[in-house]
Amino acid sequence: MTNTIMRALCALCCLIVLAPLAAVLFYVVSQGASSLTPSLLTRLPDPTAAHGGGLLNAITGTLVLLLLACLVGVSIGLMTGIYLAEYGRGRFAWLVRFLTDVLAGLPSIVAGLVAYGLIVVVTGNFSALSGGVALGLLMFPIVTRTIEGVLLLVPSDVREAGLALGVRRWRVIVSVVLPMAASGIATAIILGIARVAGETAPLLFTAFGSPGTPNSLLQPVSALPLAIFVDSQAPDQQSRALAWAGALVLVALVLLLNLTARLLAARFGGQRSRG
């Protein structure tokens, strides 16, 4: 009797938890789809125009920031992941692993403040570079731990075979292990991108937002989450419609990235079991 009640309660918990997901997706799709036109994606914001302009600056800004974040996050993440998987044993590696896990929970606004203190204060103005660094700081723990897990999954016979043939150890890692784990590494990068694509708080005082498309790394740049935030605070209807449309684009982007990561991970698991 208790068994059935508790089973029903747990199922109810599941439904309660998934209800907001359905609600958010429903509202984003319904409100966003009505204002999403192709011109929205190709025009710059223009409050004086009849339709209020578009999101081009936000979309291009997001692309630039994600590229910079990848440069920072993937380089640190890849090499640290390789270290932890191939060489990492002992107190130092434990500390690195622990700090990486702890930094994975860094509040995004603190990452923005650190990038502000490091770059914006030194260079004197807001820039895409500082925004990219802030996002990279948020990205690298996930990339590190995922790549470490992926490299540990590569069977050791492959490494042994390489060494038995006389290949140097670093060459074995670079030319044998990494290509074998390529789809897993791609999964790690995509997961990292999906994590930072929706972050707004670090960009509030690093990239800062701008009305035009990015033309330099040292100038402020807009981003999709930033545009959503700023437009949602505006009083007029057009800005709010822009905010919902931007939210739809952002949610679609993030879901697409997550789905791709999942598919790649499944393929990597399949490859490994076959090979």
Binding site: V24, E160, R169
Partner: protein, 417 residues
């Protein structure tokens, strides 16, 4: 795994032979020890003491120990030594392979001899990047402290106890925001933990196989949605729901309880609590589901063999077994709630309030930084906001460290994961 033979046995076995190979230990003590032992007599190793005995013990233990120690030099010493023949080493490879750790860890046995320049450069490069993690953490703390220095020196510990936040006269105190952060986060935790545990039990134990996969994916999707989208939904949908039905009803019927006193604005602490609950449930659920799945089946089977129902098994064996890990997951959720910025900023209404009412409008540390940073002029104003950021950083790092230690201790993830 035996700990290796003593020095005495070496003297008996290899009197007159050089027990240490030429490509031996590179550490200074090791070099000294090996020189002593080689040039003079094995017994001089006793003079040098522990380091040498470790060196010699490792050398002598090869072939007997199945799992090699972590030093690369020991791996070198396991290689062939043309001078000395050990009768015991012929049967060691099968045993060694049988007990090797799987995956990349075993790789270390073979890869460390004959290190070329490329090997050393690559190894050094990867160590540099790993060191970078430590450096980054330090740089974060130092940068925030430097930027917050004006207010640290000006207000000292009074910053934490003062509720005054007045940019006009440059008086700043973090108490309001500390209260806002802790009140919303802890309340959200109270709501989120039963929900997450229910979902985790459902996903790990109770759900039929066909439902498990899609349900897990849907819960992970909750975590994937950006927080600004939650905030946008919160502004236009959640605050409307909270204002009229929820707060109106609660205020009308229970307005005498301090929790439900005050006018119903819609946005405020209650809306922030609800949004935070939605956002931390996936975190706690994901880790808890993983932990519940790791509980060994023997425990469950034992309970079932004793005649317990499924639910009794869960409450009396599975949950207590995973208890420390689940506490770690809960603390991790708290850490996430404390640092959550955008969704909270957009629904909390932005005011100054310290008190019990759930309907009130206040600010959290993260939301005040997000709102006021772009307008902060002068030296003390940005420094005060950065000191709030430093506080937030320290709080969240402390929570995360505690949580990770608890979760790792349960799942023993420190070395292998």
């Amino acid at each position: 795994m035996d700990s290796g033979p003593t020095l005495g046995r070496i003297k008996l076995d290899r009197a007159g032979d050089s027990p240490i190979g030429e490509r031996a230990v590179r550490s200074p003590i090791g070099l000294f020890a090996s020189a002593l032992v080689r040039k003079i007599h094995p017994s001089t190793a006793l003079v040098v003491g522990l380091p040498a005995s470790r060196v010699v013990a490792r050398y002598n233990a090869r072939g007997r120990r199945a799992v090699m120690p972590s030093s690369p030099h020991a791996a070198e010493m396991t290689k062939e030594d043309p001078v000395v023949n050990h009768g015991e080493s012929t049967d060691s490879p099968p045993r060694a392979f049988a007990r090797q750790p799987a995956g990349a860890r075993a790789f270390r046995l073979f890869g460390d001899r004959a290190t070329s320049l490329g090997d050393r450069v690559f190894h050094g490069l990867s160590v540099c990047f790993a060191l970078l993690i430590l450096v980054i953490t330090l740089v974060m703390v130092v940068t925030l402290t430097i930027q917050a220095w004006p207010t640290i020196t000006r207000f000292g510990w009074g910053f934490l106890t003062s509720a005054q936040w007045n940019p006009v006269v440059d008086r700043y105190g973090a108490l309001t925001f500390l209260f806002g952060t802790l009140y919303t986060s802890l309340f959200a935790l109270v709501l989120a933990v039963p929900l997450s545990l229910g979902v985790a039990i459902f996903l790990a134990e109770l759900a039929p196989r066909s439902v498990r996969g899609p349900a897990t994916m849907l819960v992970e999707l909750l975590a994937a949605i950006p927080s600004v989208v939650y905030g946008l939904w919160g502004i236009y949908v959640l605050t409307a729901i909270v204002q009229s039905p929820v707060e109106g009803w609660l205020g009308a019927h229970f307005g005498w309880i301090p929790l439900f006193s005050g006018p119903a604005y819609g946005s405020g602490i209650l809306a922030a609590i609800l949004i935070l609950t939605i956002m931390i449930v996936p975190t706690i659920t994901a880790i808890s589901t993983d932990l519940l799945r790791r509980v060994p089946t023997e425990q469950r089977e034992g309970m079932l063999a004793l005649g317990a129902t499924h639910w009794e098994t869960i409450t009396q064996v599975v949950l207590p077994y995973a208890r420390s890990g689940i506490i770690g997951a809960v603390i991790l959720g708290l850490g996430r709630a404390v640092g959550e910025t955008m969704a909270v900023t957009m629904v909390i209404g932005n005011g100054r309030y310290i008190g019990p009412s759930l309907f009130a409008v206040t600010d959290t540390m993260a939301s005040v930084i997000a709102n006021q940073f772009s307008e902060a002029t002068g030296t003390l104003y940005p420094a005060a906001l950065l000191e709030l950021g430093l506080l937030l950083f320290l709080m969240s790092m402390a929570l995360n460290m505690l949580a990770r230690l608890l979760v790792w201790r349960f799942a023993r993830l420190g070395d292998t994961r």
